[in-house]
């Protein structure tokens, strides 16, 4: 399969008044079309920075990023980026929130609007389209935020701790909903999370970063050998705890080294 995203020796050094901080060092990995890859690592290791760099929001210090085999420097329209906070605009209705990206990118065509409406219908939000964000629950808001991101039809979706603001129950539900949406729409996904079980339950591969300066420590292939795998039945699989243990150990060793 095609490699839609490839990172080659990506490094990032922050310049501050009191010196340099090396955040990322020679990060290499690639993601295939339709794949779901998670990035985990000790807190403060620069996971979110890495995602911001892939999205083009932050500049890298060195290295190369290829999207669809084309070297990319800036914000790419092929990438959708979903943040931890839903950041719905409270003065806009749900519908106007969802088409926000289309408006910004001047792609508010009949066809795209229809696509958005279909997404809203498909994921049970259409009847709320004239409501305001404050009237929706956290899980629904997160789904609205996802549809806003999907509306611009990204090839690659970046999730930055996108579920960690939700309470546990909602989170499990939303993870499943969003997983289904992403698999349905066949969207390549890179997710940053601090939650090991979330990473295992959703991903095809899990990339473990070391502590700062972060490098790729190991890439785990996750395969539950379940038909129609989803985050719910993955959590019930006996293999789940094996994966959990091995990932946990890798993160834990880092903590001791500190």
């Amino acid at each position: 399969m095609r490699e839609v995203l490839k990172l080659e020796n990506v490094s990032k050094t922050y310049q501050a008044k009191n010196g340099e901080i090396e955040a990322l060092k020679n990060i290499n990995f690639s993601v295939k079309e339709g794949e779901f890859v998670s990035i985990i690592g000790p807190s403060g290791c620069g996971k979110s920075t890495l995602l911001s760099i892939i999205a083009g929001l932050e500049k890298k210090s060195s290295g190369k990023i290829y999207i669809d085999e084309i070297e990319t420097e800036n914000i790419s329209s092929k990438i959708g980026y979903m943040l931890q906070k839903d950041s719905l605009l409270e003065w806009r209705t749900i519908y106007n929130n969802v088409i926000f990206g289309l408006e910004i990118t001047h792609r508010k065509t009949k066809e795209n609007e229809k696509y958005v409406k279909d997404l809203l219908k498909k994921y049970n939000l259409y009847e709320f389209k004239d409501k305001y964000p404050a009237q929706l629950s956290g899980g629904m808001r997160q789904r609205v935020a996802l549809i806003r991101t999907l509306a611009i039809r990204p090839e690659i979706l970046l999730l930055d701790e996108a579920f960690s603001a939700l309470d546990y129950q909602t989170r499990i539900m939303v993870t499943k909903d969003i997983y289904d949406i992403l698999k349905n729409e066949n969207i390549t996904t890179v997710m940053v999370t601090h939650d090991i079980s979330e990473a295992i339950s959703m991903s095809d591969r899990v990339i473990v970063l070391s502590k700062r300066p972060a490098t790729v420590k190991k890439i785990h292939k996750i395969n539950f050998e379940i038909e129609n795998k989803d985050p719910m039945n993955a959590r019930k699989s006996p293999k789940f705890s094996n994966y959990f243990d091995s990932l946990w150990k890798e993160l834990d060793v880092d903590a001791k080294e500190k």
Binding site: L57, S77, L83, S87, W91, F100
Partner: protein
């Protein structure tokens, strides 16, 4: 979803909202009436000295006689000056705030100047203003502007700079340019800042106008003071 707004619960909810609104208004009106009545009664009973505080009924009488002397016209002049001062302060303030938001460099450069300008005793600048723009309506409007403009700039710029950075980041993920950030995020997110600053501003403009009128006026509500003085028994 529920049917159109006609469930009993909905009706009760709407009724409750109306009742709250009406009772707030009634309380406000009652407070004003009580205040005036108390003032009148206390002055009548001689508990407070009407030589110093005057008295509503006397003021009303003087007001009536003054209206024959063209009070309405004076009122009009003051209103006009206040509105012009207020509007130009608000519009200029927003424009300058937008420029300063746009350019971090300009905003850093201008910061100490704004603080100094804001701390100037503007009313004391009155005579200088007269020399600059001449004694007349324009001096009064400049006075109103001087008092309200800097506060507006500072307040609105502060609101702009404190716009939820996550929302700005979200818009940036769609590759929004600075103009889009301004019109689609920063301005709509700051509607309440605008309203607050307008509320403060209308008062400040009035202060500016009245103090301007003290210095130069041939017309305007400074005359109100005359009402006050005239209504005090001598």
């Amino acid at each position: 979803m529920r049917k159109k707004n006609n469930s009993i619960e909905r009706k009760q909810y709407l009724r409750k909202k109306t009742i709250t609104k009406v009772s707030i208004f009634i309380t406000q009106v009652t407070l004003v009436i009580l205040f005036i009545a108390l003032w009148e009664i206390l002055a009548n009973k001689g508990i407070i000295d009407s030589f110093i505080t005057s008295q509503p009924s006397r003021m009303l009488k003087t007001f009536m006689s003054l209206s024959q002397n063209g009070l309405l016209e004076h009122l009009g002049v003051t209103c006009y000056e206040t509105i012009v001062g207020f509007l130009s302060g608000a519009i200029l303030g927003v424009i300058v705030a937008i420029i300063l938001w746009w350019s971090k460099f300009l905003s850093k450069v201008s910061e100490p100047f704004l603080v100094i300008l804001n701390s100037l005793p503007k009313i004391a600048l009155g005579p200088v203003i007269i020399i600059w723009v001449g004694a007349g309506t324009s001096a009064i409007i400049v006075m109103a502007l001087a008092i309200s403009l800097i506060v507006t700039i500072l307040e609105i710029l502060n609101g702009f700079l404190n716009t939820d950075s996550e929302k700005i980041k979200m818009a940036r993920t769609f590759n929004a340019n600075r103009f889009q950030l301004l019109t689609k995020i920063v301005i709509p997110a700051n509607i309440s800042t605008f309203i607050n600053s307008l509320k403060v501003n209308i008062g400040l403009s009035l202060v500016g106008v009245i103090s301007g009128e003290f210095l130069v006026s041939k017309a305007g509500l400074r005359i109100f003071n005359s009402i006050w003085r005239a209504s005090i028994p001598t």
